[in-house]
């Protein structure tokens, strides 16, 4: 059991998710009905994708972290609603590539700030965080609904028979799967594990990191599309809230914040556990005022139990850095 968890860092999130899934189905039998899956997946998708978007920058090590993914998701949402739809960019075929490009570009800017300009990742992405929130408030000052019947509505419901949200969740996962067959994947983990060693071994640390941040930006843009599909309006006011929950998902999913260990699947599972926690609370009629108590308690208890399962001998006398 413990061996399994050690070799598969996302195992804890998986077990927690399965337990919570069972609890959800028991508490609210309609939760498991396939008819409800598209809606459930649609409300889960933004959470999962933001958690995935935070992962590559953390994996790239060197204190790497991208605080700006949350505001970037909202930025793409605001751009879609306030800039694209009213100005004739109604077709998804034109809007999707453009929004993905913008997301990747913002991510790449973060990457350049961190590598070429040598800012600490927390500072660089905190600045992007502020700038994006400012832009969101500027463009989306007055919340606006999306036009009826636009292309994102399908992603919030079904594309033919397929839950649309599953597409938005699967795209980042597929990108990651393809990458894991390439040298880039190994370089990323090498850089995250020990940048000096990777540098000495001839890995282009700078390029690897910039691509990691750009990937995060790309995924965040997909998250923006998924969020728009779900809420069908602009959400400038909620710019700050996704970052922390995404980081919680990443940490629950077994990705080490120091870099070099973990992966996208774990983050998605971590986000899934958080999402199931939320639905379970509303299913068993816990008053909303208790939400954050239960959420905080489960977060702390969850990581403690996970760590306890994973440590065989008494914890090494070393601080969690």
């Amino acid at each position: 059991m413990r061996e399994l968890l050690r070799s598969r860092p996302f195992g804890f999130a998986l077990l927690l998710s399965l337990a919570l899934l069972a609890a959800n189905v028991i508490a609210e039998p309609s939760f498991g009905k396939p008819d409800n899956w598209p809606q459930e997946l649609a409300s889960f998708a933004p959470l999962a994708i933001v958690a995935m978007a935070s992962t590559p920058s953390i994996l790239s090590g060197g204190g790497g972290i991208d605080l700006s993914v949350g505001p970037l998701v909202i930025f793409c949402n605001v751009l879609l609603i306030h800039k694209f739809f009213p100005h004739g960019l109604e077709s998804g075929w034109a809007a999707v590539p453009l929004i993905l490009l913008i997301g990747a570009a913002v991510g790449a800017i973060n990457g350049v700030l961190v590598t070429k300009l040598r800012y600490q990742p927390v500072i660089a992405t905190l600045c992007t965080f502020f700038i994006l929130i400012g832009l969101n408030l500027k463009f989306g000052a007055s919340p606006r609904p999306a036009p009826a019947g636009n292309w994102t509505t399908h992603l919030g419901d079904k594309v033919w028979f397929f839950p649309g949200a599953l597409i938005t969740i699967l795209v980042p996962a597929l990108v990651w799967l393809v990458l894991s067959r390439t040298a880039y994947h190994r370089q990323l983990y090498a850089v995250g594990g020990n940048q000096s060693t990777a540098f000495s071994a001839g890995v282009d640390v700078t390029a690897t990191r910039i691509v990691a941040y750009a990937l995060g930006g790309l995924f965040a843009a997909i998250g923006g599309i998924a969020l728009t599909a779900l809420v069908q309006s602009s959400q400038a006011a909620s710019s700050a809230q996704y970052t922390l929950i995404a980081l919680a998902g990443v940490a629950l999913g077994g990705t080490v914040l120091g870099g070099g260990r973990g992966g996208l699947l774990g983050s998605a599972l971590g986000a899934f556990a958080i999402y199931l926690m939320q639905t379970l609370l509303s299913a068993v009629n816990v008053p909303p005022t208790w939400n954050s108590v239960v959420y905080g308690g489960m977060l702390v208890a969850g990581v403690v139990v996970g760590a306890w399962l994973m440590t065989q001998r008494p914890a090494l006398r070393r601080a969690a850095a």
């Binding site: 005022t289 954050s292 969690a320």
Partner: protein, 324 residues
Amino acid sequence: MSAAAATIGRVQRRAPLLQFVALIALFIYGAASISGFSASTSIRSMLVLASLLGLAALGQTIVMIVGGLDLSIPGFIVAGAILISQLCGTHHWSFVPAFALILVIAAAMGATSGWICHRYRIQPLIVTLGMGALASGGCLAWTGAKLTGAAPAFLSNLTSASGTTFGLAVSPVVVIWAVVAILAGVVLHRTTAGRRLYATGANPRAADLARVNTSRVWTVVFAASAVCSAIVGVLLAGFSGADQTLGDPYLFQGLTAVIVGGTTIMGARGDYTHTVLGALILTELTTILVGHGYDTADQQIIFGVLILIVVAGYGRDRRLRDTI
């Protein structure tokens, strides 16, 4: 030129020289471009805002010195504000027992975070996130989200910009901040306890081998951070009234104050004097931006760009090829 740069670099390593220059330059710019900026009323209200921000960033500073990150600050601020308002306002406790209870609760919860992080080697980010949610959520659940009480009146005087301290035309909270800053400086640099913090942050394993009880360091540091945040919450209850979103601005702004001041997230570098300057710089910036009529959106953008510029002066990492 390079000799001058080397000299600046040498001084900068010992004292936050560039931050000080930035502070003065911003003040001169503000005084020249905004009428009334250098008036005593404006300076006094800036000092009150800076002292609240600075006190909220004290906990983050010491946590970052030992190599952690505390996301529970807004949670404990909200908890402190709600508890003092409810206990004193609605349940008619007198101030001292209510305040003592708040300190005990915050210390216990903060200590738990620190101990868990150290014992199970969990990233402090996630434990403090959960603990902060527990603290603020617990208070909200207790009150049923109906905040009826008000903080004791003398708290409002403590944080009033026009307040006086023993006849001096300085608000009491600013005096408290100054005393705290001096104490923090002495503790961090002149006591064994301070040395233990830096040793733990620089290399926890080496610190352990040097017989520093790093578990106790982490427990105490996180407890202290929670207590600081709760005290800021109590002060804020008098300043602006309790509210469940009261603490939110202080997480990222406090972090910014610490970072702009020059304490690094990697641990063992910087001290509270740096953070004091960081809080003053940030408050000046905000005041200047408001004075020039920028709205919140513009402020956020300019804020972001300016932090990049300020930090470019002194806070960047070494080139990777220079670290091998």
